[in-house]
Symmetry: C2
Subunit: 169 residues, 2 copies
DNA sequence: CGCAACTGTAACTATAGTTGTTACAGACGT
DNA sequence: ACGTCTGTAACAACTATAGTTACAGTTGCG
């Protein structure tokens, strides 16, 4: 399956903004955390803005922040904002209509794939951005009540690009 | 999401074999129904054989048939045979470990993506190849008790390659 | 045997989607 | 006016899938 990392990156980006509370983040800052190019982030922010998940401001002192509270943004909202198609595709070219199986398999498969898509959406609709932030806390939170800034100050060297946390990639 | 049609094609192929009952099908026949090249089918048949879903015989009068009854093959079996990775991927390059969000988002996302994968697998494990064939019958079956052959005899012209049955592609 | 009909598989091209990069116009605060 | 941002176009790089040709090896049968 040609899975993309768009959903993962989008969740990451919005989680940063939830973490930053109301402070607008610059695409450069976000890119540094995601470990990619700022244009990639800006492109994604445009899509997220079209779905009314973030608001951006141009110009000096500009940046992006969440359009509403993290508990009012579900992972389904994010998924729908950045992933255009369902989990599976049908045939690239339509099957042979002269074959009794070929002529009807598309309809049957569509029903199955709809069931799959619904299941995915059901899972994602039950999780909010707030949940993601909460699950992050036990490891990342510090104990003195004041939250660490999104990125420590100052320039950082580019992170070595090695394998990610799991074998998903 | 870079969804592929591998699953759809695999289900199609195995449905043809369930329909053909015990008669071994040649890759050329299958390719004609799927409307693709026979080598593409043979490649997929190799994968399906590795997962013990089909058995193939080389040589003249050769071909492939199901390794067991259609009711003992679930769509999950097929999915696992031809789709190597989960529904979503994590970041292509690991996030910045110096960022409190970046360092932990992978773990949180992995949990979420596992939930999604489980939901997909749950749906697919509840459907068998027999179910697919049954859903096919109301449209394709004929009423005189004798099932139509998989492909009518004789060569056919290549089917025009137009849009498929839905907007999934 | 020797041929014809098959599968299995390598090697290559084509296509498509995503990601990465450079460049620049326009918005905005100071 | 200037510097700092976003928005966006244009294009290169990379990846996975799909399509194609070619051919070695297997099998059935005259």
């Amino acid at each position: 399956m040609s899975t993309s990392s768009r959903f993962a990156v989008a969740v990451h980006v919005l989680t940063l903004m939830a973490w930053a509370d109301e402070e607008p983040l610059k695409s450069e800052q976000v890119a540094e955390s995601v470990n990619t190019n700022a244009v990639v982030i800006r492109r994604m922010l445009c899509e997220l803005a079209e779905s009314n998940l973030v608001v951006s401001q141009t110009g000096s002192m500009g940046g992006s922040k969440l359009a509403r509270l993290p508990e009012r943004i579900t992972l389904l909202d994010i998924y729908q904002a950045v992933e255009s198609r369902g989990v599976f595709s049908l045939h690239r070219h339509p099957p042979n209509p002269d074959c009794p199986v070929g002529v009807n398999i598309g309809t049957v498969l569509n029903d199955v794939l709809d069931e799959v898509d619904s299941a995915v959406e059901r899972v994602l609709s039950n999780l909010t951005l707030r949940d993601v932030v909460s699950r992050l806390q036990p490891c990342a939170g510090n104990s003195n009540g004041k939250r660490a800034s999104v990125l420590a100050n100052g320039k950082r060297k580019q992170v070595a690009r090695v394998q990610s946390v799991s074998a998903r990639n």
